[in-house]
């Protein structure tokens, strides 16, 4: 009831200028209702996204150490953490590793995922059961997969070396302890984990391509390759772009795969920016400011590609809408 009095007063004040007090009142009310509906989402985003990111950024400008947690003192030191980060001899190797890890993962996950998706386009017995089984790497907890990969890669007792031995190679491959191989080993594991995701989405994309196009093409005498090159590939492009952009963001933030298999070792040779940021904060003298700075760099990159994805998705939506 009080509300009516309130708005009534507001309407009275507006009356001399407005000829449509009723409509104005309704507009205002709708706007407030709209804002209220928006509020939960807004609070959620502020509390769980904006606040932590802003806090992380602030941390990267501070001398934030173990002591800070007890005393609450975190002196502002400007861009000092970033300078120390870039001057750290482990910085560029971590960046290079991140790039190789990401590019390698995307390339092989996509290619193999697409090949498998194409394979499952054919009708054959047990197709759907096998397709479900392919999902296992994606469904299994990463830490479990990681622990299994550690066993598989073991140089003395691992299945992989055993298989290579039985093929006739007599040397011992130190998958996890050779500084030249450690990154490749975690890469292999990550590709294996990522294939199902690529496969499922690309399979969906393939299913959406009308069969009649292929029939028409084959009547015109197109080969299987031409069918793929001129029908599948262009029509799959929107789905491919989404898969690659999402895959990029997923891969940049990969942490558990590396932590569970090599912990970034030996001697930081499989360290990516992500795992390195963690080690700076939690294992290397508790320099949380420095770790936050490394995290910031990654965040900016992920954010940029995230925006790219959103822009792309928006454009696609408009195109389909019109």
């Amino acid at each position: 009831m009080t509300r009516v009095v309130e708005t009534g007063a507001a309407a009275k004040a507006a009356a001399p200028v407005s000829h449509q007090p009723r409509r104005l009142r309704r507009w205002r009310r709708e706007r407030i209702v709209g804002l209220l509906f928006l509020l939960p989402a807004l609070v959620y985003v502020l509390a769980f996204y904006v606040y932590p990111i802003a806090f992380n950024f602030l941390m990267s400008l501070e001398k934030y150490t173990l002591k800070t947690f007890v005393t609450g003192e975190a002196p502002f030191i400007g861009l000092d953490n970033f300078k120390r980060l870039v001057n750290n001899p482990e910085f560029w190797p971590a960046v290079t590793n991140t790039v190789w890890f990401t590019v390698g993962s995307l390339f092989f996950q996509f290619t193999l995922g697409l090949l498998i998706a194409l394979f499952y386009q054919h009708k054959f017995p047990l197709n759907s059961i096998l397709r479900a089984l392919i999902l296992v790497p994606w469904l299994a907890p990463v830490l479990v997969s990681g622990a299994i990969w550690v066993r598989l890669f073991d140089q003395d007792t691992g299945v992989i070396n055993f298989a290579i031995h039985s093929l006739g190679y007599q040397g011992q491959i130190s998958w996890l302890t050779d500084p030249h191989l450690s990154l490749i080993s975690v890469l292999i594991a990550n590709i294996w984990i990522g294939i199902p995701f690529n496969m499922v989405i690309l399979y969906g994309g393939l299913q959406a391509i009308p069969r009649v196009l292929y029939e028409a093409a084959s009547i015109d005498g197109a080969s299987a390759w031409q069918g793929f090159r001129y029908i599948t590939w262009p029509l799959l492009r929107p789905v491919s772009t989404v898969v690659l952009l999402l895959g990029l963001v997923y891969t940049l933030k990969v942490f558990d795969v590396i932590m569970s298999i090599t912990r970034g070792g030996p001697a930081n040779t499989s360290q990516t920016l992500n795992t390195w940021a963690y080690s700076l904060g939690f294992t290397n003298g508790f320099d949380f400011g420095l770790g936050a700075a490394a995290g910031d760099i990654l965040l900016v990159v992920v954010f940029a590609f995230g925006m790219l994805y959103l822009r792309y998705a928006y454009r696609e939506n408009r195109e389909t809408a019109s």
Partner: protein, 438 residues
Amino acid sequence: MRVNRLTAIGAVVLLVAACSSSGTTPTPAGTPTTGTPTTGTPTPGTPTATPVPSVAAATTVTEWDYQNVDPQTKQWQTVLDECTASTGITIKRQSFPRDELINKVILAAQQKQLPNVLMIDNPDLQQIADTGALAPLTDYGVDLTGLYQNLIDAGTYKGKVYGIAPGINGMALFYNKDMFTAAGVKPPTTWAEVTAAAKALTKSGVYGMAFSAPATEEGSWQFEPWLWGAGGDLSKLDSPQAVQALQFWTDLVNSGSASKSVVQWTQADVESQFEAGKTAMEQNGVWNLSTLEKSKINFGIVPIPQPNGGAAPGPMGGEVATIPVNSDAATSAAAGKVVNCLLSDKEMAEWATLQAYIPSRQTVAAQAATADPNMASFVTAAAAERSRTGPPANLGPNYSKVSQPLWTAIQAALSGAKSPQDALTAAQQAAAAALAGS
């Protein structure tokens, strides 16, 4: 309308409350606390019914440790139960995995939710004392007489003792007597003999030597006896002596006498290799005695040697009991009583026997040595052990800033990424930079 607004506000309040409370509630440990308090102990529900002596109010204290795997979990619980029985104070225990405990401590410190008694690894003590989160043990009348000096060194920060371990530990070389006899090899007493023995004992499926060099504190800890034995020191990681020590380890791996997997193995992994007969010799800690003595392995123990003979000084290991600062005086007093009980001769001996640790008080240690000849060699070595944070490098709270570059260098050399010299030069630079930044 009004209802809508109210629910929206209510939702916000709930959300905020949820945020803040989720931060303060300590998550229970993965390992449940075993064993309920023994008979005659007070339970939190009925404090008045029990004959608690002079303690004004507090009959319950909280305790955190990282003894989260059996048999240690049960053994430590036994000691805590005995202290509950003798002090009348209920101890609410939580154990976390070792790597996780320090993170829990950091968060709890921020929320002012630290436990009343906190058991931490001794090289971490200085760092945590440096934050001001701990109270000096002497405020609670902890008896320091007769303790090993290196233990007091490790627990002393700026002239005050903040943490004392009921039991300390150290490392030695464990060797498989049967394998040594079969190969006609004598237990090594110099570095050259270690190399020769490891080489002679390596055959298909069996390595001559095993140690642990992961990218954690464990890697530095295992390397330190060799570093110090060669005459090197943590204050200069690229000294010729340090290079000599790392070269020695690297040669063991490169010659195939030790597995390349040592850069991944934890000490527990090394122990399983030894117990499975996959390695003839292992560098490991005294705590393995409790399982080895029950196993079928016919083993012997020799000290980790200096290059030309004589036992090398090793780092002192062990978890120290600390009392975090707490505004509630009664609870702190109760925590003091519990710590005093943990450090009493009786509990010290109990813990040492259960867990195969060296009792921290020299008189108690001497008794343990007479009881178990295997323990005797560790007790002899204990007096020469060094605190990692103490002299001669006196790194104090900065120990981890040197330890981390050191374990990275060890990994680089053992994996072949760098030569021992290059790896240690880089480590010294990294350590100097980290120390300058502090």
